[in-house]
Symmetry: C2
């Protein structure tokens, strides 16, 4: 992946080429580009930024991938993870042996008021859609509900921002590499109560790429590949009146259970996770929904330093969306890059000791689509 950030000096295509070149250069034993048989592109660019049709050619063009097949996936903030998932299906179906997955998003070219905020406030065009309800507002509803139900405090959310900025400070790919304190988070301007400016992830430019292949030929490319164990995708209503609750994201639980089942593991088997901290409250609720702690005990698990580096199950060692940044289509793919470094013991100062199984979690909309992928350092048979 390329460093996430504000890339006013790079076009969408520049970023795609950058991530692609980084990816090829990262293949331990090298890879002939011609071995890549097909690709999946995860990007929201069409809807989000360009307001134009974006095809698989948006990947094929800059990396000269013609005439090979490229499918474009768009599924809100699950876009990158869903590209990984569908590419895996094609390999598991025996159709391709080696494929490329790229996620990319160019978001900083237009002001935030026209991008992240606008996108959620107009997410549905029907009469019943909330007008003017922005993402901080919608997630803020979950924060207040969780505070009321379980005694969660703004300080807990602040601790998550502090943690993720600390992790991000250790990650060369991260947008924000400066530490912030819980006190700073609490003192930041309120965007939509109880979420302040530093509870929100940034709008970001970035791209990430991975090569996926059959487990039985992965050693052609590396002596230490990582393995996809399982994948789960789930949906839940977008609109508040139809949601069953405001203290959990049921689609996370559904997706995670599907992924755990496919992987043959339990939540307690997970050594580290990259989760969707679009807002600090999202990460806290996700601890519970993924089964890392009991319902309502996210704050307690946090106080026990469960998700911290050195804790029971570090979360967002990359810095997460909060510090690493959130270029929507790239996010899910970049989470795999973090696990690829961690599960190979190459994450440097942010290494989780002995990490063998990692999980990625993305949420699109307000818990509307959730995708969980699980990876391990050993072939799944050995792991099980």
């Amino acid at each position: 992946m390329i460093k996430f950030g504000e890339h006013f000096d790079m076009s969408y295509e520049d970023m795609v080429v950058g991530a692609y070149r980084e990816c090829l250069a990262s293949v331990d034993k090298g890879i002939d580009e011609d071995r890549l048989e097909a690709a999946w592109l995860g990007t929201c660019a069409g809807s989000l930024i360009r307001q134009e049709i974006v095809t698989g050619a948006a990947l094929a063009e800059p990396i000269r991938f013609f005439p090979r097949p490229v499918t474009r996936i768009e599924n809100a903030c699950c876009t990158g993870s869903d590209a990984v998932r569908n590419a895996a299906f094609a390999i598991a179906a025996g159709v391709y042996d080696v494929v490329l997955v790229v996620g990319a998003e160019k978001m900083r070219d237009i002001p935030s008021r026209d991008s992240l905020i606008r996108q959620t406030s107009v997410m549905f065009h029907e009469w019943w859609a909330p007008r003017g309800a922005t993402a901080p507002n919608r997630f803020g509803q979950f924060a207040t509900a969780h505070m009321k139900a379980y005694g969660t405090e703004r300080e807990h959310m602040g601790l998550i921002a502090e943690k993720n900025h600390h992790h991000g400070s250790l990650n060369p790919h991260s947008f924000f590499r400066k530490e912030i304190s819980c006190e700073q988070v609490l003192a930041a301007p309120i965007i939509s109560w109880p979420l302040g400016l530093l509870d929100c992830c940034p709008t970001t430019d970035g791209a990430a790429a991975i090569v996926m292949t059959r487990a039985d030929i992965a050693h052609d490319f590396s002596d230490s590949p990582i393995y996809l164990y399982g994948s789960g995708l789930a949906t839940d209503p977008l609109i508040s009146p139809w949601k069953s609750e405001f203290t959990a994201f049921p689609a996370t639980t559904t997706a995670a259970q599907a992924a755990y089942k496919m992987a043959g593991i339990e939540p307690t088997d997970v050594d580290l996770a990259e989760v969707h901290d679009c807002f600090t409250i999202t990460e806290l609720i996700t601890y519970e929904d993924l089964g890392f702690c009991e319902k309502g005990e996210g704050k307690d698990w946090l106080e026990r330093r469960g998700p911290m580096l050195g804790g029971e199950r570090p979360v967002n060692t990359s810095g997460g969306l909060k510090a690493k940044g959130h270029p929507i289509g790239a996010t899910g793919v970049s989470q795999v890059v973090e696990l690829w470094e961690q599960l190979r013991g190459q994450a440097g100062d942010r290494q989780v000791e002995g990490a063998k199984i990692g999980l990625t979690h993305n949420m699109g909309g307000i818990g509307t689509v959730v995708l969980v992928n699980i990876f391990g350092s050993a072939p799944i048979a050995e792991a099980a």
Copy 2:
């Protein structure tokens, strides 16, 4: 599928529900909705119309599919076919047994000048993209080049429009059910030489849905299912200066060869085809690119009535994009609906006698992404 047309009285969601209900009702032995384990939604709505983020929830919401997984695919005019393709991968991978594929597009709510024309003129946002070059203009370049190289005449294109309107007049699902003559096509106002108004497919509202399942359990649902034999997807540069030629769409040949190979068939084994006649010239060139005739002999094959009902290999018995309509995300799925009727001998007045193998072909951009799927009436082993 629902009848394609101008559905000012239906929302996007109404159309999705309509196609879904038609689909379930068409399952010979009936189907319990709960057997549908996952879905793929093909729609360009986000980029094209709504200019907002559209997730899998745009399908899950109206048909109450929660919490099941929905992937959204967008790949220009290949969108619907690519949804079919990725759903097939998931089944072939053994992840799901029974899935739903829906394609839908609501295009008539905004004037054409803001939709089909705008979309292609701004398809890429980079400095090298042609500004103001519309789809009729871009495809018109291919028409003039083909006319010069091979002696193709405007009359040949007119014959294709006449043929497809005749076919459409026989199809209850078709937008236009009136016949037009070649003379009318030639006399219509010129949009971009040599393409006149009646050489162009319409902007259309519509939705289509299919159920896909494992071949070995298809008989749970029907005694006469149709089988997916092969699929090919290919890419080619969008921008004119980078195109290698203007008398063929190389991605069609690449995609078709991949699909023929997977299916274990030759072009001559195809009994009928639904091809992407966004403009009449596109269909003519596609005859050649698919191998239905030699290069440059599309006009001759047409004169021999090869693609007509009763001819060697009828093309666009549904009416094609030209008469049936072209709601972008729905088109590829609706092509499968036509083959489903034809390969089961249920296409009424437009039935191709003895049809056993059918092909669908979609092209996005200007030959930029092309997808070919091949279906047959018998399990592939028996067919081979």
